[in-house]
Amino acid sequence: MYFNIFGYKLSRRRWKEALSAQKNRQELITAGLGRRELFKLGLLTSGGYLVAQSGLSAWADGCGPGVCQLGCSPPTTPFIDPLTIVPILPERQLTDPGFATPPSVCPNNAINPATQLPFEGRGQFNGVLRPGTDCFQFFNQFPPQKFFIERMRQNTNFRITSDPNIAPQTIWGFNQGGIDPTTDPAIFPGPTIVTRYQTPMVVRRFNELPSGAPAGGFGVPETSTHLHNFHSGPESDGGPCRWFFSGQYFDYYHTMQQAGFSFDFPPTGDVNETLSTLWYHDHRVDHTAENVYKGLAGFHLIFNQFDTGDETTGFHLPSFPQFDIPLFLADKLIDPGSGQICFDTFGFDGLVGDKFLVNGKIQPFFEVQKRRYRFRVLDGGPSRFYQFFLTNPDNPGQSIPFWQIANDGNLLPTPIQVTSARIGVAERVDVIIDFNQIAQAFGATRLWLENRLEQVNGRAPTGKILPAGQIQNALVEFRITGNPVADGSVDPATGPQFYNLPSTTPTPRITRNFKFERSNGQWAINGQFMDCNVIRFTVQRNSVEKWVLQNSSGGWQHPIHIHFEEFQLLSIDGQPPPSSPLVQTGRKDVIRLEFGTTAELFFRFRDFRNDYPMHCHNTVHEDHAMMLLWQIQDVGDNNIEP
């Protein structure tokens, strides 16, 4: 029996026809034929559809309106839009109307007569108010000095490309805190939050998302905004069970101190625990994938006296924001009928898209000067693994090196020269690309950041590295312009030293073991499933632990994220972590469990108390219970297989 995507039975003839149509379309794409070429060949209508010719029809393979499937997105033209430089979230004064009730240690749970809900959603757990809980830890010790507002809203006119094949999008996003949607619309990625260590801050988030059936049939207007990688109390971490309703706000307070501030590195923490490239995203239990996919995510960068954002000081890293650019990668599917980003909420495996968005635009271009840039590359999910290379499209055979300076949010002790970097969902790498040197050494006038890791479903990449120079795999086209310019940033080749890695010699109080499994299509950790009401184990505050994570799920790969604390990889499949060809050293907050991988992780748990999750960051797996909760308290337990 043969079936199309809607589950309807097809005759063998129609099935073969559909298969060959799909192959034909794939070959056209592989041949690198853009819209213009297809149009010239008479294979594309000006409306953007492939002409309805037997064996080539755009919809013959079941790609009709409403279908959300790999290979069905309408054709688009790459490199017609400039890269979006995402605006920086402006600071606000406490006199702002949004702060009519200023942030307080304990949540403002008075009932709002207009909504019958508490004004503030903090203090709710899984939608139920737990009076007296979730007061901020260390708030009085580090009173907030900077204040920000973001409003989560719908935007019905968001452009992901100027290509007329693609409609203006209806997205959910964060705005810059203003009231007026015409001057301050919700955007994707959300505004970049820029803060400094030792400057405690609060960001107040209003959930103003529409209720009712959501456009496109996905998205749930209940949210919890996680600050991915920061050392926050659970009340400000934005965990899966601390979501709040449309009509409420939620204050997220961050001490902006490094780990250890209340224990072995008083009063402000261990500088070697400094974090730099973080992101914030929705984490509503069971609905994270669709909500983040709909646009509820953005970058949060942190500077300090070393990583200053000014190339004339500190570590002399390229200056922010001109030469220090966050790149938010997101792969999407587009409904061929509506031209809208689509999402199938009934899928279990994960979603991989056939359109690459960078900072919210399909395959943008970016004009760069002949000097060094820092790029902070984030895999924004929902399910895809990337391995990106620099390709000279005019000479794809060249192997072009660049410098990796950070793994996840954390600077490496010193830059490492690489020719590619692999990231799973939620992982970040910071890289330095020297366009002057590359222009000289390789004669390149343009470069693609190209994803060459093949992945055709939500399970895992195939492992195949695709040939260089295929236009549909390009993420961004860098256009190298002008003459060499002054460059005050450090040359990574001179071996600059950043932070030292904290020691991993202390003996762990306990070693815990976790198997990531699958049976009858259900994701599990040690045979159990996510439950907001079950905390699986208790870590002793201010102690050291070793966790052993094992992928026992067969032909699947999982990027596992542990909230609250980065780990150092002690070993992976019995070997010390390599730094070549892929960098697995340094401090990280996501471990990619590739096929059958066993990884040993070293943690210190300091300062804060209460509950956090560990979960697969393939957000579709996460939404189907591949998650557990654990906690930190003054007395830990001895559960070695929680």
């Binding site: 589950g7 000006s46 009401n533």
Partner: protein, 228 residues
């Protein structure tokens, strides 16, 4: 068996004019975008209107009679299944008890057989009696082809055809949602019954509830959380 051509499918969606625009009028400069309303979109993708038979022998239409305008919980099983079906069904019996009088009043549970050839209404009726299932929970069978379409459209399918063919390894997830709000989620059928009940209420009541009402309505559940 439903066999659909592209044209009849478009006609069914009410988009036949779009087909003409796109394929036969290449002169139009700007594409006409056709948005399908969210509930209609999910109906097309996931909810065929196949004729099914309940364990009480009643003929029903899947979309019209069981899904449209309703709050529902759906899973797949078969009577002679020796693996996951027994623990999941037993778990769902607990869930039904936790949801008290709501199942049958405004929440409906559907267990669809994977082996319609052997699971006649009589067999399913016996199965339901064995587990002492309460009202508002239907066991459903039908023509094998219709059941197969239903299983695929509801997403209870493995990408790997070999894995998919092994019925003893069938997907043990529960799908639940509120059709009026196009809001759906899923969780493992072997999760804790308490948590399944909370998750179901979160989906079906989420769009209309307030935290204040929630505290009263799920007093016992809230108490349990506070007791932790």
């Amino acid at each position: 068996m439903i066999a659909m051509t592209r044209r009849s499918w478009l006609a069914a969606v009410g988009l036949a004019p779009l087909a003409a625009t796109a394929a036969e009028n290449p002169k139009s400069q700007q594409r006409t975008f056709q948005n399908i309303p969210p509930r209609e979109l999910l109906r097309l993708r996931h909810f065929p209107n196949s004729e099914l038979v309940t364990h009480q022998g009643k003929k029903v239409r899947f979309y019209d009679d069981l899904i449209k305008g309703r709050k529902v919980v759906i899973n797949f099983m078969y009577a002679k299944c020796e693996g996951i079906c027994v623990p999941v069904t037993a778990n769902l019996v607990k869930v039904q008890k936790i949801l008290k009088g709501r199942v049958g009043r405004d929440i409906f549970m559907y267990s669809i057989t994977l082996k319609p050839e052997e699971d006649t209404p009589e067999v399913l009726n016996k199965y339901a009696r064995t587990f002492h299932v309460g009202p508002g929970w239907l066991f459903l069978t039908g023509k094998p082809g219709d059941i197969e379409v239903l299983r695929r459209k509801l997403g209870f399918v493995y990408a790997d055809p070999i894995e998919d063919a092994d019925k003893s390894n069938h997907i043990g997830m529960l799908r639940f949602g509120n059709e009026m709000f196009a809001r759906w989620a899923a969780c493992p059928g072997q999760a804790h019954a308490d948590w399944i009940a909370i998750s179901i209420l979160s989906e079906v009541d989420g769009p209309t509830r307030t935290a204040a009402k929630q505290t009263t309505r799920n007093g016992s559940l809230a108490a349990k959380e506070n007791g932790k």
